[in-house]
């Protein structure tokens, strides 16, 4: 076999693989366990999307975000969403400038809000009013905010991590489906296992922990994001993603029975884009320049679970969107039928 010289792309892929490894290690110094959550958060970071974290209080969601921000040497802002939070509390506002004597100068000066960070923690985003939520969601989509008629571009990389608490739903404003769609991934933060819990208890009840080391700068993150876009995807893989998205709609001919029964609206085009983009991030973080069917399957749950709207019957039957996505993955073949049969016939 001919051993070729490493290409530039190979070096960059190697760097990406190494960077992800170092990031995991750095986060691991603070966060015990939750490797899937960490991985999925990294997919969102590399793919250039935003991540919605959902989990019970006390599972380390905020800590994870803070730790990530520390590791990345990016500007970190935390917004605690409350019902009385106003949009200007997020975006900032123009204030009248006074001189040293306290006299009014007649000039206005922008006081930037917390959105002008790079890693934004929108804590308990569902507790703010929709008006306030929409101020954040505009920034997420446009990577820019408009204050008093002036558009202000946000610094890149801009990465929002919002958290939701599935408990204490009273007095909350669940995010509309259209806004949920803006999040690349919805990551479910599970309860820690016994071993993980033991580690957490040990680590958090001793002396104060040291801050995690900075692993990547903003330039590195931007490079990784650019590299992510270079990852190649074969047409059958893209088609597979398209079939998955298509089958999630109850009107689709290829929809499995659970979709027809329990789903009102399936994932849209943005869901398909997110599938491919997240799969590229997975491939990149594993050092590959191409996407495999398995990558699509790995990202299907966090990408699609918040884009599928259940029907009344589905809700009544207790069918979760995770159930639907799993059924989609088992019902939709990745390869054409003859190839699938030939592969199976050994």
């Amino acid at each position: 076999m001919t051993q070729a010289e490493p290409t530039d792309l190979e070096a960059r892929l190697s760097f990406a693989r190494d960077a992800s490894s170092r990031l995991r290690d750095a986060i691991g110094t603070v966060i015990v366990g939750q490797s899937d959550v960490v991985d999925q958060t990294l997919w969102g970071l590399i793919a250039g999307g935003h991540v919605l974290l959902e989990g019970a209080p006390g599972l380390g969601k905020t800590l994870l975000v803070r730790t990530l921000a520390s590791c990345l040497d990016l500007g970190f802002s935390r917004i605690q969403f409350t019902p009385d939070l106003m949009p200007s509390d997020i975006t900032g506002t123009n204030v009248l400038v006074t001189d040293q004597t306290g006299g009014v100068t007649g000039r206005f000066q922008l006081h930037k809000g917390p959105i002008f960070g790079q890693v934004i923690l929108a804590d308990e985003i569902n507790r703010a009013t929709p008006k306030t939520q929409s101020a954040l969601l505009e920034a997420m989509q446009e990577h820019a905010v408009t204050i008093a008629g002036t558009r202000h571009k946000l610094d890149e990389p801009f990465f929002v991590l919002a958290t939701e608490n599935p408990l204490e739903m009273e007095g909350t404003y669940p995010l509309p489906e259209a806004q949920l769609d803006r999040f690349l991934l919805k990551v479910m933060v599970p309860n820690p296992s016994e071993d993980e819990l033991t580690g957490i208890l040990t680590r958090t009840t001793g002396h104060a922990m040291s801050a995690p080391s900075q692993v990547l700068g903003s330039a590195d993150v931007l490079n990784l994001r650019a590299l992510c876009r270079d990852v190649a995807v074969a047409e059958p893989v893209v088609r597979y993603a398209a079939r998955l998205v298509g089958a999630s709609s109850p009107e689709s001919a290829g929809a499995p029975p659970i979709v027809s029964r329990a789903v009102r609206y399936g994932a849209g085009v943005r869901g398909g884009q997110s599938l491919v983009l997240a799969a590229k991030a997975v491939a990149l973080l594993e050092g590959r320049a191409h996407v495999a069917f398995a990558d699509i399957q790995r990202v299907a749950l966090p990408v699609l679970r918040h884009r599928i709207i259940r029907s009344f019957e589905g809700e009544a039957d207790g069918v979760t969107t995770d159930d639907v996505v799993r059924e989609l993955l088992s019902a939709v073949p990745s390869r054409p039928e003859p190839v699938q049969q030939a592969v199976a016939a050994r």
Binding site: E5, T7, L9, D230, A232, V237, R288, H290, A292, R335
Partner: protein, 611 residues
Amino acid sequence: MENQGGNEPTQFHDRFERWAGKVRRRMLFSRALTGLAYGLLGGVVVAGGAWWLRQSVLRPWAAALGLVGVVGAVAWATRKRWSDRDVALFLDARLTSDEVISTAVELRSEAERNDPARELVVKQAARKLASSDPRLARPRLLMKRHGIAPLAALAILYFNFIQLPPAPPSPPPPPGAELVQVDELKGLEKIIQLEKLDARDAEQRKRLDAIAKEARKLREDLKNGLEKREALARIAKLRDEIAAEKMAHGDAKNRAGLEAALNKLKQNQKTEGAAKALGEGDLTQFDKEMQKLANQAEQADRDAAKKALEEAAKAAREKGAEDVAKSLEEQKKLFEERSKGAEALRELGKQLGDKLPPGAQKDLQEFGDTGDPAARKRLADALGEALEGMTDAERKQLAENLGKQLEQQGGGAMSPEQMKDLAESLKDPEARKKLAEALKELGQPPGSGDAQREQGLDDAERGGGEAQKGLGAPAPVPGGNPGAGNEPGSKPGAGSGKQPGAGKGAGKNPGKGKGKGGPGSDHDEGEGDHEGSTDRVEGGDLRSKAGTKWNKGGGLHGATLGRSSSSGAGETANQKGSGALGKVAPQEIGGVERSEVPEEYREQVGRYFEP
């Protein structure tokens, strides 16, 4: 090193083509085997079918279906040949290469030349192909379904070598389909004889000739061979036509005239018997009745009968029944001739006097009283014998007596010429011979034309029955008339009870009888012992035990009624061909008069049924 890197796409291309070639060849071979299996399976069906249908020639060719299956499968496989993309997906799955080969195949095209990942992906794919074991990427050659092929081949062999099933029994031919070949069928000749029968008119002549011609043609066809059913059908048709001819007097055209003529004949007590015979369509019997009347000695009786005939003919003509009128006129003419002949016999018998044997004397008496044709014949024979047995002197004396009577009475019943001729005849031996022959003829006067026709038609109809019987068909009763005799002899004879105390009944006319059957019964005449031996049945026990079901809605069979129950002219054809309305059976003529309808209502009822 850069060159090596630059050659990676080419290397990948070559390697991929080799791998793809292997994959495709194996797929093709596997599909060909599938085609062979299914083809042979079809061959089993064909071989089995050929065996079942006893097509032994087709059985070996069933195996060729296997070849057809292979060809079809190869054609189908070529058409469904896997694309590079499919092969790459297959290789990726088998080599667990995370779709690097598929991605490399996608990036091979010129359009993807600038893709930043192209070089690396292609290189990785080439490495993967180079480092992988080709055995991992072999599509499975033999499937479970391929096991059908040897089993099917064995089954085809089996069907080729086992004995064919026994041939199913051929279905029996339809009844009457067998071919009959008869040189001379008994009975047909009697029908052919109709061409010699004296016809009533030109139209009947034509019909009779047509019947005879058809019978002759049938005879020829039977010589050459004919289906039995067809032959029977043709005979039945001939019989129908013959029966129709017999029914001529009862058809719609003549019916009213016939009824009128019958009324006239019935008005005279002497001609009642003749009227009954005519009413039943029995022209032979009618002729005999008239002959009896002509033979009778009483001039008044003869005149009354003659007058009745004249009036009947007139009445028939008035009703438009020309055929009936002609028949009656012919009968009248014949009646006159017969009367004269009878008178001559009686006169000669008187002249001979004691010269006649005692039996002849008795016959002379009976001939005058009853007009019995048999007595007439016996008398004529006796007269002939008596004349032969006379001496010349006695003959001379007889001739003189005849001459004296001629002088005194002017000939009496005989004309003077007849009387003179008779006297002359007695002198010359040659003339005496002729006289004897003339006496014989007088003893057996010819029948009427209608009677002869009916006789001929009866013979023809009987011939048809014999012909049917000769072909093995159950011969139907010829004619529709019951063969009940109307002479004393047909009446109940003496009955004798077997049970003690039942007594012995005595018939009115025991023993001797002379009956006449209906048409087709051959007019058998004879004497029979009609003494019955019926057990006496007490009146109280005389109950019917019959439990038969009577279909009230349906008519009785045509043979019973004498006519069919058809609803329109020509719609049916029974044996008589009288199925159409407007034609009646002979026994229906005068039915009202014979019925139990009270006298005062008969005319009204008769008008009601008059056509």
